[in-house]
């Protein structure tokens, strides 16, 4: 820490004397942003828009928690409540969780980590952002005009023949948004295959790249199916054709199959990138190569593949055949293993490591703990006999929030903190960050742990009112709401200090932590072409090198000389004397 502070202030002094040209100040004006083909700027565009949709989703979450303070529906009508939880789901799933890490951190980091100047198709990358915004606007319009009340799952026949809300419009938004995911995934896959810097072999790739690659596979092979499914629902609603309508010979359960064929892998779209981030955070802040690199790498691919074979575990009580249920249950247990392997490897990495307590690492700790709980409760739900009782109850709600918020969200926040210096060239306030991390952790557990108990006691999900003859239920709901407010505050704090730091934060050195990835071997913030020169990789993943070899690659710029050997900034890239064993 002291070393960083020291290096940071020196860098600050120096840079204030010699302003540098980087991707942020390369050119100005809204045009330079809205028409940019620079993956780093597009990443920031995504960051802004995703934060916007997240706040909308969060507002709806607040409304839900407030309503459930009391058993009676005294805050809003049930029709309103149904719309509120539907909007919460749609916003969070399709417009925050799915694009969150891939579109922001992924967009920013994938080319830098593999030593490329940009993604393979910069125009398509920009296009995918516009498609995302278009989808977002359409869905948001649907919400404003009066909203949707089908639940984010759009189950037929309710969504096709009964609900009289803006199903088609919202569906259209999700349909459009799907293509932004597809294009992002396409870009990542091609980039990873064709744009790696000389020497950057597959097994030198950072684990974040492996997980982004696995995620992209799901984007490519899963998203089209939800697109066509939503399209069919819309057509059936508009034209009253009977693809899913039992009265016309259709089968509502077919919709559930098609829907979950995407929507279960979508869960892995949310968690895999977070896993990748966590691998980076641990390696960086424990100064250790990830234990069992290849196992962690391949477990990502295994998750992506097996994740496609288990969707039927959402249909255990939906009149799916018992035998299909068993097959899906069996595979569901298999898909749990790669996740377990990751957790064990991360833990093993910490053995005899040099662990810092910087905010990113705190989020990494939170992730491992919460994801373990989320994952194991998932294993519980995969057990048929048990699932019959708790499916569609708050047990499920608690489970997937432990994965989504406790997993994906923690990874996202940890990643933002870790790469914030690189993205903005400024440090965030460490003290506040640690405090926020703590608040988020406490608030989160207080919010969602009680919901496990509620679930087993039989409280069904999507309930506007709940029985008054169950005093304990209200107690737990009140706890949950209390926790939610703490969580809300905990999430506001980073929002505030991130914005603050963009103007007032200390200047960040090129490699503040320090870390081994290529993205740290270029100034912060990076130049538009990412690297002064095409880097050549001669070291293994997460291999700590002597200072001068972990410095900025290329001819020195005024404030980032080769090897960071600058009079005012000795080994300023968080340079560390390498002594092999403490």
């Amino acid at each position: 820490m002291s070393n960083e502070a020291n290096a940071g202030t020196l860098a600050h002094e120096w840079r204030s004397r010699f302003p540098t040209v980087n991707y942020l100040n390369a050119d100005y004006g809204w045009k330079s942003w809205l028409l940019t083909k620079d993956h780093k700027r597009i990443a920031l565009l995504y960051l802004a828009s995703i934060t916007f949709f997240f706040m909308i989703g969060g507002a709806y979450a607040a409304a839900i928690r407030l309503e459930l303070l009391t058993p009676q529906g005294d805050l809003m009508q049930s029709a309103t409540y149904n719309k509120v939880f539907t909007h919460h789901g749609i916003m969070m799933v399709f417009f925050f969780l799915i694009p969150s890490i891939p579109a922001t951190l992924g967009n920013f980091l994938v080319p830098m980590m593999i030593g490329a100047k940009d993604l393979a198709f910069p125009r398509i990358n920009l296009l995918s952002w516009y498609i995302y915004m278009l989808g977002g606007v359409i869905t948001f319009a649907a919400l404003l005009f009066g909203g949707v009340d089908t639940g984010w799952t759009f189950y037929v026949p309710y969504s096709t023949n009964f609900s009289n809300t803006y199903v088609v419009l919202a569906g259209l938004g999700i349909f459009v948004n799907g293509f932004s995911s597809i294009l992002t995934g396409l870009n990542f896959i091609v980039t990873t295959h064709t744009m790696r810097a000389p020497g950057m072999t597959w097994f030198r790739l950072p684990l974040f790249i492996w997980s982004m690659y696995a995620t992209s596979l799901i984007f490519i092979l899963g998203t089209p199916v939800i697109a066509i499914t939503v399209l069919l629902v819309a057509v059936e609603r508009l034209a009253h054709v009977g693809i899913f309508d039992p009265a016309l010979g259709g089968d509502p359960v077919l919709f559930q199959h098609m829907f979950w064929f995407y929507s279960h892998p979508a869960v892995y779209i949310m968690i895999l990138p977070a896993m990748g981030v966590i691998s980076e955070l641990i390696a960086t802040h424990a100064r250790k190569p990830i234990f069992g690199y290849s196992f962690v790498a391949f477990s990502s691919l295994a998750i992506a593949i097996f994740g496609f074979l288990v969707w039927g575990h959402h249909l255990f009580v939906s009149s799916q055949s018992v035998y299909a249920g068993m097959i899906f249950s069996l595979i569901s247990f298999v898909v749990a293993i790669p996740s377990a392997v990751k957790v064990f490897n991360w833990t093993a990495t910490l053995y005899k490591a040099s662990i810092s307590y910087d905010a990113p690492m705190l989020y990494a700790f939170a992730f491992i703990g919460l994801f373990t709980i989320g994952g194991l409760t998932g294993v519980m739900l995969a057990a048929l006999g048990f699932d019959v009782h708790v499916t569609d109850t708050y047990f499920v709600v608690a489970h997937f929030h432990y994965i989504m918020v406790g997993g994906a969200m923690m990874g996202y926040l940890g990643g933002l903190h870790n790469w914030w210096p690189k993205m903005t060239g400024r440090m965030y306030p460490e003290g506040w960050a640690r405090f926020a991390a703590l608040v988020v952790f406490v608030g989160f557990n207080l919010t969602f742990f009680p919901q496990f108990l509620l679930g087993y006691m039989g409280m069904p999900r999507r309930y506007h009112v709940y029985p008054t003859d169950q005093p304990l239920w209200q107690v737990l709901h009140v706890m949950s709401t209390g926790g939610a407010s703490i969580l809300g505050i905990g999430l506001l704090i980073p929002g505030i200090y991130f914005i603050w730091s963009m103007r007032y934060g200390r200047f960040a050195p090129a490699n503040p932590w320090p870390a081994t990835g290529l993205e740290w071997r270029t100034p912060s913030p990076p130049p538009t072409e990412n690297f002064p020169v095409t880097p050549v990789v001669t070291w293994e993943a997460y291999e700590f090198r002597p200072v001068e070899e972990m410095a900025v690659i290329g001819p020195g710029t005024p404030d980032e000389p080769i090897g960071g050997q600058h009079p005012l900034n000795p080994g300023g890239d968080g340079g560390i004397a390498v002594n092999r064993e403490p």
Binding site: N3, E4, S78, D149, Y158, F162, P246, A247, P252, A286, R287, P289, F291, G292, Y293, F295, F316, V317, S318, S319, V322, G325, M326, S329, L330, F333, V334, I337, A340, V341, L350, Y351, K352, S354, I355, F365, I368, G369, I373, L376, V379, M380, A383, L384, G385, F386, V388, D392, Y456, G458, P460, R461, H464, Y466, L472, E543, V578, N579, R580, E581
Partner: protein
Amino acid sequence: MSLIQGIPIPKVSVPFSPEQASTFAPHVDALYLYLLLITISFTTIIMVLLIFFAIKYRRRSPDEVPRPRHGSMVLEVTWTVIPLMIAMTIFVWGASTYFKAYRAPHNAMEVYVVGKQWMWKFQHQTGQREINELHVPLGARVKLTMTTEDVIHSLYFPAFRIKQDVVPGRYTQLWFEATKAGTYPIFCAEYCGTNHSGMGGHVIVMEPAAYQEWLAGGAGSESAASQGQKLFQERGCSSCHQVDPGGQQGRGPTLYGLFGKQQAIDGDGQVTVDEAYIRESILNPQAKIALGFQPIMPTFQGQVSEEQILQLIAYIRSLGAAQGGAGAGGGTPGGTTAGPTTGGVTPASQRSNPLAPTSPRQGSPQPQLPASPRGGGQANANRVR
């Protein structure tokens, strides 16, 4: 005795769980405990290691670099194989519980359930109809045959630890044996629209004697079967379908003793005459033609409600149905044509043959059929299904 054959009912009770009021509940709770054990132990291991490492190996000087360690095959294999083994034990336990618990027993007492936005309609074989309330006798096996008039709902008895979606156009089933008298909540667990959270009620488990009284209270209400019989006459079904034993075939198959039999159909193959087949035959008569009959029965789509269809089914199965022939769908008439006395009977006596319902008189044939959209032109062909 446990109805989940082979598995003794474990004696467990879990904190923060609803009451155990069915033979199935203790099994779920036992499984729950096992899962909790695994979850807690794994979580603890990870947590303890995390905290221990975090403290013991905290960064002591800003520039220390620990020696890299790249992994160990032995460890990787260990923590791949062991969790897999444990997972498989969970699978086997969970699956066997589910499998056995979902196979409804023969000789169960039948209740028909129709979900509708936003209420549960229950109909007892003895004719009692209830809305959002279900009275069942203690210790009797109750089998629910369920469908819905509109969207997908899910009937959920927390106290019994069971749940099953009801799907439009299909029959799904659920069964339980209550083990504890009392009143327990019923919920709709599948989101079904505006008043979803209001779509619930109570299941009242009564001592057999009390249940008898309750049934008596509902006296005068005729049995589902005889309601079905009325319908059978009104709709003119009787003009083509014989219902007496040995009566010569009408223009459609004689229905006496048909239920539960294997019926040969046009084209190839057979169908079991069960609820689903009868329902289909009423709504889409031409789908599976009984072998040797002309496809000229008109559809009754939109002319009979789901409840009426269930009454007709009750009637048809009451027509001296074959004793479990070909594993009669939904159990032998024992459980289904339950006269008022069947209510409180114990599982043991349910296996004994119950009294058959009053054999219905055949109504005076009214040969005119309701004209169908497109089948009408052929209505004067000489055989109806």
